[in-house]
């Protein structure tokens, strides 16, 4: 159980044959998506520093986990992200502009594109895992061929909802995939202090569901594992727990300083230079003659253009109106809401009050 499933080594070499299960266009797509979201992530941090965005949760380092897993979904599947999984949401079809909007504090940033069930980023830890059991259960009861994918971090595995979700999913054999990005830290607390169990994958045994521990920086391992989990789910064989071992290079959020709780320079350098998910796929693709500098430059230019366009869209989005907060609390607004909304129109400042 403590062994790590790996297909593509950090040196960009295959450890196992992938015959037929991954074609070249898919590999290129994986690479392009990872580069695209990394540029998005870096841009977001800059925007936060410039005061153009609120607090932001970066994911750099975790691209293989998020991109590889989201690529295994089909429209109609349910995606339950945490506040760090915007890469997964983008890959599954969420527009970058919406993700910007969310972090810019617009409620409309949570809206899922039509036909895709992308849930708003979940802030309380592990709570969305149970929802993914529910939506998957409903899919099963209604004979719909859809899976529900719940993302969570290593810290979530200490919460009751993690256990309740796994237990429910096991008992009712729901087509749910529990995808843990174990990045080693729950804000500042290392996994060694989070849990006495050596791995997260081993927890699956307690619920008698398949649990697999994979190299979360190896997008091939992520995607192949997800494919199997999806297949199992759609065949009525129930849930899977996937532990993707990865690392966030940066801080928990833009409000956090990782230097306080870990040897940031050493660790980030180690992971970035030795285990980076993008670098290893690039090495692999270049060796196969599928990638080169010209393509890279073209990709970066295209991605930056797309990010800039998304940013322009988000920044020109109409300013939220105060009355928007009263919408969508209930199907029909209560009399309290109607009246309280009316209070918005009353004078706000002393000098506005007529003498």
């Amino acid at each position: 159980m403590s062994s790590l499933y790996q297909v593509l080594t950090p040196a960009g070499e295959l450890t196992a044959a992938i015959d037929g299960r991954l074609d070249e266009s898919m590999m290129i797509n994986m690479y392009e998506q990872m580069v695209r979201v990394r540029l998005f992530d870096r841009k977001s941090i800059h925007l936060q520093r410039q005061g153009r965005m609120g607090t932001y949760a970066p994911f750099e380092g975790q691209e293989a986990s998020q991109v590889g897993s989201a690529l295994a979904l089909k429209p109609g599947d349910w995606l339950f992200p945490t506040y760090r999984d915007h890469a997964a949401a983008i890959v599954h079809g969420q527009s970058m502009a919406r993700v910007f909007l969310y972090w810019m504090g617009h409620m409309e940033g949570s809206i899922s594109p039509k036909g895709l069930n992308i849930m708003p980023p979940c802030v309380p830890i592990a709570t969305q895992m149970v929802h993914a059991v529910g939506t998957a259960w409903a899919s099963k009861l209604q004979n719909e061929q859809h899976v529900s994918l719940a993302y969570f971090g290593d810290g979530a595995t200490s919460e009751g909802d993690f256990h309740e979700a796994l237990n429910f999913a096991g008992v009712f054999q729901t087509p749910t995939i529990f995808f843990c990005q174990n990045n080693g830290y729950a804000i500042s607390v290392p996994f060694s202090q989070q849990s006495a169990s050596k791995t997260i994958a081993q927890r699956a045994a307690a619920y008698d569901i398949p649990g697999v521990r994979i190299d979360g920086n190896d997008i091939f391992a992520v995607w192949l594992t997800m494919q199997e989990a999806v297949e199992r789910a759609l065949n009525g064989q129930g849930p899977t727990l996937i532990e993707a071992v990865t690392f966030r290079y940066g801080a928990h959020t833009t409000a956090d300083d990782p230097k306080k709780y870990r040897d940031q320079e050493k660790l980030a350098k180690e992971w970035r230079s030795e285990r980076d998910p993008i670098q290893r796929l690039r090495t692999f693709l270049v060796r196969r003659g599928l990638w080169n500098d010209a393509k890279e430059a073209e990709l970066i230019a295209r991605a930056n253009e797309q990010i800039d366009a998304a940013l322009a869209e988000a920044e020109s989005y109409p300013k939220s109106r105060p009355e928007d907060m009263f919408k969508h609390v209930y199907a029909e607004p209560t009399w309290m809401a109607v009246e309280q909304e009316g209070e918005l129109a009353k004078p706000a400042k002393k000098e506005d009050i007529p003498a």
Partner: protein, 327 residues
């Protein structure tokens, strides 16, 4: 033919008829299947609708409420039974952070048409934490509706309304009244609208506002005051705790000019405070005396040897009425 049912029978009938009519309705809970629920609210429903629609879940409030949120978002209408209100706390986060907010967070894209049913209140000689009345927790959270019937007729009609409501409804069933009396309940399906109070006794001197098991206490007090003091008491069953029926409250005050609120929940920040606040806002000039609250105390609901001393009694309510009338 006149057909009389207890409240628990009315509740069972509401679920039974709704399940027969709408295949999206499913029940989840602990012991609700083969056992029919600890109070037998779901008796025999598993035999009628099968174990995929009447589901005995693992012992996990967060699990069943959280899963029900997902089920509701994806096309079903789950009705969750929590065995006792004080057992709801492990699922509290799911209720307030998710069920209540899903419509808001997704700007109306997803909503959670679910019902959480739970027995509540004291007076049944239950063990510790089997007798709580913490409706305020839920009334405080935007996005939830909170309902507490006091009669079999209302229980059936309100529960059907709750199952048809597009928003999550916390459905509080006064445990003490489950089998306390029978009442004529129509055989057909009907709705009692959520958010509408009912004047159960007309009067002109004082209004008594109550809900759930306290309605009976209020009625008893009203009867005795009329008999012993000759004062005319109006009793209003609020039936819905959120949203409150402001018009009914204000109308009654305009008529009587005096009021007491009776609830078994703790006094501080209980719904009585909210009701008085509504009266202050809307009908202050009609008041002839301050509005009194006759409530449970600001102590944990005690174990049953002194449970009755915690609960408002007709005598306590009567003395509150007299104080108000003689202010």
């Amino acid at each position: 033919m006149i057909r009389k049912l207890t409240m628990i029978q009315a509740i069972t009938e509401a679920m039974d008829q709704k399940m027969a009519e709408d295949s999206r309705v499913m029940l989840l809970g602990e012991d609700i299947g083969v056992n029919g629920g600890v109070f037998r609210a779901t008796e025999d429903l598993i035999h009628k609708y099968g174990a995929t629609r009447v589901v005995d879940t693992p012992l996990s409030e967060a699990g069943m409420i959280g899963a029900a949120i997902g089920l509701a978002m994806n096309g079903l209408i789950p009705v969750v039974e929590i065995q006792f209100l004080a057992f709801i706390y492990p699922g509290f986060e799911q209720i307030v952070s998710h069920a209540a907010r899903m419509r808001y967070r997704t700007r109306g894209q997803y909503h959670v048409p679910m019902v959480i049913r739970t027995p509540y209140g004291a007076g049944i000689r239950g063990p510790e934490l089997h007798s709580e009345s913490v409706e305020t927790f839920f009334a405080h959270v935007p996005g939830l509706k909170v309902v507490a019937p006091s009669t079999p007729y209302d229980a059936k009609g309100l529960l059907i309304a709750a199952m048809e409501d597009p928003d999550p409804v916390i459905f509080l069933e006064p445990t003490k009244l489950y089998r306390a009396f029978k009442e004529e309940v129509p055989e057909e399906m009907y709705c009692v609208p959520i958010g509408k109070a009912k004047v159960v006794r007309e009067g002109t001197d004082i209004s008594i506002f109550a809900w759930g098991a306290m309605l009976r206490v209020a009625e008893e007090a009203a009867k005795r005051i009329e008999r012993e003091q000759g004062a005319s008491c109006e009793v209003v069953d609020l039936r819905t705790i959120y949203p409150l029926d402001r018009d009914a409250i204000v109308q009654s005050i305009k008529k009587t000019g005096r009021a007491v609120v009776v609830h078994e929940a703790h006094k501080t920040a209980g719904m009585g405070a909210e009701i008085i606040s509504i009266i202050n806002d809307e009908a202050l000039i009609y008041l002839k005396a301050p509005v009194k609250r006759i409530t449970g105390f600001d102590v944990p609901v005690p174990q049953f040897s002194i449970e009755d001393d915690y609960l408002p009694t007709p005598a306590r309510v009567m003395s509150g009425i007299v104080e108000t009338l003689t202010f």
